[in-house]
């Protein structure tokens, strides 16, 4: 469902140009839980931002379910981000003065879902990410890191996207909480047949993935996975 062909991203910083993404080609099937590994500064976030249409590639194509998003106008890209993509960030990026539930309702509001429906679905999503009812009304900045990331995952799922892009979702969490978050993502990808790309530099977490990629010097290479159990 995701086909990437020879994408390049060039940055001009002063005199030098850097190409953190320099000719990447790969594709993944629907419902795949894939991990992308790489050192800090290797271009993992840059790659995800191109897949999620947060930024435009310098060249190359990103095709999602047959649609070449590299060629879409801005208005269509807004709809693409809203309907087809779910983002999970390392810093959670919740709106701090909104409650957990209000954060989850936000993408549905942008999609024009009625208030009652939004409220109902947000409640159900928060249940799925194992946040108890009493946490739903709590302000986002009053939740622990692990809880905030659960809310962020629920928010990413709000409009039932085809593709979830998670950029180091466990980077700010302790190992135990991180493992729970990865397990949660994995379960969701299997239950909902959602394609999930997780950027991480944690090998243990990457070990849980269906497929494993390594990003280095601007190019992506697939590594074999040792499936456990």
């Amino acid at each position: 469902m995701l086909t990437v062909t020879n994408i390049v991203k060039k940055f001009n910083s002063g005199e030098r140009t850097i190409k953190p993404v320099n000719g990447i080609t790969f594709s993944v099937e629907q419902g795949t839980f894939a991990a992308i590994l790489g050192k800090s500064g290797s271009g993992k976030s840059t790659l995800l931002s191109l897949l999620g249409a947060l930024d435009k590639a310098t060249s190359g194509e990103v095709i999602v379910d047959g649609v070449n998003i590299s060629a879409l106008p801005d208005s269509k890209l807004t709809a693409y981000r809203r309907d087809d993509i779910g983002f999970v960030f390392q810093q959670y990026n919740l709106i701090p003065n909104l409650s957990a539930k209000e954060n989850v309702m936000l993408p549905m509001e942008f999609a024009g879902v009625s208030h009652a429906e939004r409220s109902k679905r947000a409640g159900a999503l928060l249940e799925q990410v194992e946040l108890t009812e009493e946490m739903h009304g709590r302000l986002a900045n009053r939740l622990s890191g692990g809880m905030q990331q659960r809310v962020a995952i629920a928010r990413a799922l709000a409009n039932e996207p085809k593709l979830i892009l998670a950029d180091e979702p466990t980077g700010n969490l302790d190992d135990e909480t991180g493992e729970l978050i990865i397990a949660l993502l994995r379960r969701l990808s299997h239950e909902k047949k959602t394609t999930i790309l997780v950027v991480t530099h944690d090998h243990a977490l990457a070990g849980q993935a269906d497929r494993k990629f390594r990003l280095a010097r601007g190019t992506l290479t697939e590594e074999a996975v040792r499936r456990q159990g």
Partner: protein, 472 residues
């Protein structure tokens, strides 16, 4: 949780800053509203003052005014000349005379004298059967006494003379239209006319109604109308056709004054100069209805301008406050705007959110500002008017006073402060808020809110979704 409630919530994310912004906005908006109220109040005062000035000029023989002074009577030739001066819409010759009551005990010589030629004691130009409606009183006795003025010693009883004014049209001596309460104006302006208009108190005193008769000299006059001029002095008088007055008092071709109507208030002072030049300053004195009123209008006009400029300046200030604070807010929330875009918010949704946030601040600033304006409007008007009129205050002596004009009558000369200045004429200016003021104020505030909010809203469109990754 929609865009509106989110915006309201965002407006109070930083409570201390929002509070400070609202206070500053309140001061600016309050000042703007106070200035607007002041502007409107002064504007309506200017209108009423202008209406009371009228467009009138009076031409008197040089050196004569009312019952004082001397000189040569004006002539009908001068009237023709005056009427030809530019901006003169109408010129009416008047002949004011005093008529002694023939069965009364009026002292003072009777003769064929123009009433402007005498000083001190009453001179009369003829007789009438009418009795004055005003009792002489102390002032009348003093005006009529032969010796030193100021004496209040008992004087022989006498009756005050009646003022008769010869006119050629439908305007009073002061150039305004008659307020005829019964009957009608003149139809016969010939020298043989027997028509007369009688003031209301004089008519009552003498039991006259429309159609009643009385005598002037040896002619029997018929009352065609009864008028109310509003003051005791003016209602104790009669009007006759000019030609009849001239015939009856043997003053053919003579006028005591010419009343001129200027085409516009704005041309009054230039026309005053033009008339003096045309007729010669040694022959005539040309006076405006009230120089002080004119200077009052001028100084109020500058108050009007100041308040308008201050209104606009305060609004612009409020707009700048909104603009700067919202630019700051947008910069501060760049990353959050990136988050909203990353999860699918369109530019319009985000722009709207910031516009509403700005409107919330402006609305609260307006509420507090209205309270500020309610308390500051009156002091601001007083301060503005006071500081702009004192320099013009000591104007020229004002003509005319209650119950007494030109040293003649029961009230004496200059019953009201002769040197009353522009300040007193302006009197109190009441600040009340009319619907126009509210509409103008609302439109102005909405405009500043729109300008102040639109620019930052447009800035949010420039924020790219990739901002969400900043600092990661």
């Amino acid at each position: 949780m929609g865009v509106v409630s989110r915006s309201v919530g965002n407006a109070f994310r930083n409570k201390v800053r929002s509070g400070a912004v609202i206070v500053i906005l309140a001061v600016a908006i309050g000042l703007a509203l106070a200035m607007l109220v002041a502007n409107q109040a002064v504007a309506s005062k200017v209108d009423s003052l202008k209406a009371s000035i009228g467009n009138n000029l009076t031409i008197n023989p040089a050196g004569a005014r009312g019952g004082f002074g001397g000189g040569t009577p004006l002539t009908t030739a001068q009237l023709t000349k005056a009427a030809a001066v530019p901006h003169v819409a109408a010129a009416q010759g008047l002949l004011a005379v005093r008529l002694a009551t023939n069965n009364g005990t009026t002292t003072g010589s009777s003769g064929s004298s123009n009433d402007s030629g005498r000083a001190g004691r009453f001179g009369t130009a003829g007789t009438t059967s009418l009795q004055s409606a005003v009792a002489p009183g102390v002032l009348g006795a003093r005006n009529n006494s032969a010796g030193a003025s100021g004496g209040t010693a008992a004087t022989p009883s006498f009756s005050l003379p009646i003022q008769a004014t010869g006119i050629t049209g439908s305007l009073t001596a002061s150039g305004t239209a008659f307020n005829i309460t019964s009957g009608s104006g003149f139809s016969d302006f010939a020298g043989t006319s027997t028509q007369a208009l009688v003031g209301s108190t004089l008519a009552t005193k003498n039991g006259l109604k429309v159609g009643s008769t009385f005598t002037v000299q040896d002619r029997t006059m018929k009352v065609t109308g009864i008028f109310d001029a509003g003051t005791a002095f003016d209602n104790n008088a009669i009007y006759l056709p000019l030609a009849a007055t001239q015939t009856l008092t043997d003053q053919a071709g003579q006028l005591s004054s010419i009343s001129v109507v200027v085409d516009s208030i704005d041309n009054v002072s230039t026309t005053q100069t033009a008339l003096t030049d045309a007729l010669g300053s040694s022959t005539v004195d040309v006076t405006a209805g009230s120089t002080n009123l004119q200077s009052a209008v001028t100084s109020l006009g500058s108050v009007q301008n100041i308040s308008l400029i201050a209104f606009i300046a305060s609004l612009v200030t409020a707009g700048l406050i909104v603009l700067l604070i919202m630019i700051m807010v947008v910069r501060e929330r760049r990353r959050e705007i990136g988050v909203l875009k990353a999860i699918g918010a369109g530019n319009r949704t985000i722009g709207l959110q910031f516009v509403i946030e700005a409107l919330v601040l402006v609305a609260l600033g307006t509420v507090v500002g209205s309270i500020v304006a309610a308390f500051s409007s009156n002091p601001i008007v007083s301060a503005l008017v006071a500081s702009n009129t004192t320099s013009n205050a000591a104007g020229r002596p004002r003509q005319g006073a209650a119950n007494a004009v030109g040293g003649f009558g029961g009230g004496g000369f200059g019953g009201r402060g002769v040197f009353s200045g522009a300040n007193q004429l302006i009197g109190t200016i009441s600040t009340s808020v009319g619907w126009q003021t509210l509409v103008i104020g609302a439109v102005g505030i909405l405009a500043i809110a729109a300008i102040g909010a639109l620019v930052p809203a447009l800035l949010t469109a420039k924020v790219r979704p990739i901002e969400v990754l900043r600092g990661e």
